[in-house]
């Protein structure tokens, strides 16, 4: 089992020591996380690593997953798209089904907590059924809610306003709410199967197994097949690059159990890639962390050309591997990629193609940007910083009106 001390060689002894001292103030507190998927997607990944570490630090931390039928996930996907600005239509029946599924889940749960962190809209309405089960309720929005579709936000605001606090990934996503709002950036775990160091042999073995030759520079995008990740835009960019420079494109995508749109987008990708032998579409299972790790390390350039993005952990992962990254200039990607320093943020397939060409022709610049990016991730976006933020959030929940808390 991975322990906190295993992180010391990566982040420094002082960082681990700080976590222990902070956690001393919170011994025995009950901290419950609730989301809607146990595997697939950034939230499940973060929780799978953070929950054991919080327990090691002495907080009684549990992770609950709500269950739902396909109709429920259709509704919550509409919430997700609506929060990201799509003009979705919600009927009374859909909203009632959403509430009904959460009521059924509430009957199944028997936890009690000092603080419960409810991730995203799927389980948000649990508060209506379970308010007395936790001293403090905090809603955690992982989605790019900078320009939500008003009817969707109006409905969710009616629920979220009952919470004691909200947490967003960026200040742009914060809303007019009657309670304190906090910023917590997501994180990656440098020791997870997806991010740990790999030997060259391990990388080669994965490439061989997936049938990928390294005969040309590899451009890679790893993401769900979701319209906001713009895989078709990546193919457009790749076709522009190919006019000038030989390279190959890998589109590697996982599936999340709460995303019903995946197959439809995948079909669009196959259609766009038709007739191009240097585009490979890899449909990976949600637990293919080792394969994703190897692909990211084998890639020459990593792209995350999202048009909306809560944060973009695939960008963080790629940066941690010292790869040069080109991302869509949206959401948390802007926070991570600073032109010419830690990567490039682009606004169009043309911009993406231009930066790919730039980096293919300037390998030294690409290497330097990769190194800067890795150091930036080390200080800002590793799980140790995330744990520190969770602990700080817990302490702030004891003193919600105080801006300076001396322990």
């Amino acid at each position: 089992m991975i322990t906190l001390n295993d992180y010391a060689p990566i982040v420094g002894d002082e960082v681990v020591g700080q976590l222990c001292r902070l956690a001393e103030r919170l011994q025995g507190r009950r901290f419950v996380h609730i989301n809607s998927t146990a595997v697939g997607g950034g939230v499940a990944e973060i929780l799978s690593r953070a929950v054991p570490l919080l327990n090691q630090l002495g907080l009684e931390t549990t992770w609950e997953v709500i269950m739902g039928d396909p109709a429920f996930f259709e509704v919550t996907k509409a919430f997700h798209n609506g929060l990201q600005g799509f003009k979705v239509h919600l009927t009374h029946a859909m909203l009632e089904h959403y509430r009904q599924v959460n009521r059924e889940n509430a009957r199944r749960f028997n936890w009690e907590a000092d603080v419960v962190l409810v991730h995203d809209p799927q389980p948000a309405t649990l508060i209506e059924e379970m308010r007395p089960q936790s001293r403090r309720w905090v809603w955690r929005c992982h989605v790019d809610a900078s320009r939500p579709h008003l009817p969707v936000w109006r409905f969710l605001r009616g629920i979220v306003k009952h919470y004691d606090a909200s947490v967003f990934s960026m200040s742009q996503f914060a809303q007019n709410l009657p309670h304190p709002q906090y910023l917590i950036r997501p994180s990656i775990d440098p020791l997870s199967e997806k991010n740990r160091s790999l030997t060259e042999e391990e990388i080669k073995a994965v490439l061989q197994r997936l049938g990928i030759e390294r005969d040309k520079p590899i451009i890679l995008q790893v993401s769900r097949f979701d319209s906001f990740k713009d895989p078709v835009g990546v193919i457009q960019a790749f076709r522009l690059v190919r006019r000038h420079t030989p390279c190959k494109l890998l589109l590697a995508g996982g599936e999340a159990t709460d995303d019903p749109e995946g197959p439809q987008i995948l079909a669009q990708v196959h259609e766009a890639a038709q007739g191009e032998p240097d585009i490979q579409v890899l449909l990976l299972p949600s637990d293919a962390h080792h394969e994703v790790n190897a692909l990211q390390r084998a890639a020459d350039i990593i792209v995350q050309k999202s048009t909306r993005e809560g944060f973009g952990l695939t960008v963080t992962e790629a940066m941690w591997k010292g790869r040069p990254v080109i991302g869509g200039a949206v959401g948390g990607i802007v926070l991570q990629l600073r032109d010419y320093h830690t990567g490039f943020a682009v606004h169009s397939p043309e911009g993406c193609a231009f930066r790919i060409r730039y980096l293919l022709h300037r390998p030294e610049m690409a290497r330097r940007m990769g190194l800067t990016a890795r150091e930036y991730v080390r200080t800002q976006f590793l799980i140790t910083r995330h744990i520190r933020d969770y602990l700080t959030l817990m302490i702030l929940q004891d003193n919600p009106n105080s801006r300076l808390i001396q322990l």
Binding site: V15, R21, S171, Q172, L183, T342, Y376, L404
Partner: protein, 230 residues
Amino acid sequence: MSNILDRTAENPFWFHECFLMAMPLGKKVVNLRELLEALLEVDESVLFYHLIQSRLALGQPGVEYPNDFALWAANALQDTKLAEKLSSFDPFEYHNLGLVRQAVVDILEEYLWDLPTVPWARSGFEFHFCQASVVVMHSLISANTLKDFCAALNRVGLDSIYYHFFEARWRLGELKGDDFSFWIETNFGLPELVTAIRDLDVYFYSLKEVRETLLGLIHQHLGELCDYSE
């Protein structure tokens, strides 16, 4: 000089650790006039966040402007001239945040006065206001002598440097003050060193550079015995 380095302080310096949690207000402005109007109203903690605290919240490499307002002028309004004006402004020249607020307001007002149109941010690049909550606790590191102090400065996290050197100015209500120079002054005198620390042009330094500069100053004023490593 070696005596002063080994002399025991009347009160040891206890380093504190500082955990900052940014708190967005959910309030944004889209053009320069709205920014000016909002700056007249927001709490001083908001001003402090955007001028000083944000450097601890997210230390992005290669940022060319020292505060969020200048950065916004450059990136969102695409107005480099205004960004330059807002960068040259130094909040530590003022005794309190009330005066700092007035100074920023004056810059924006004068700038707007001569403009034929109000500069607007591109969509998605609005200015979002934040403040922060700070949790502070004792570290396990203290210093009884200046020699200990130098060694400790090398060991503590950057959050401690932030707390004692930047947050202190807010806490003490005196933007010229900081915990380090105060401790040296009250325990050892050393007016030249104290003045040198207080006169540092720290606004452009990263926290790591502040640490190195402080060690360099002590080294320079007190001689070779206070060696430091980077």
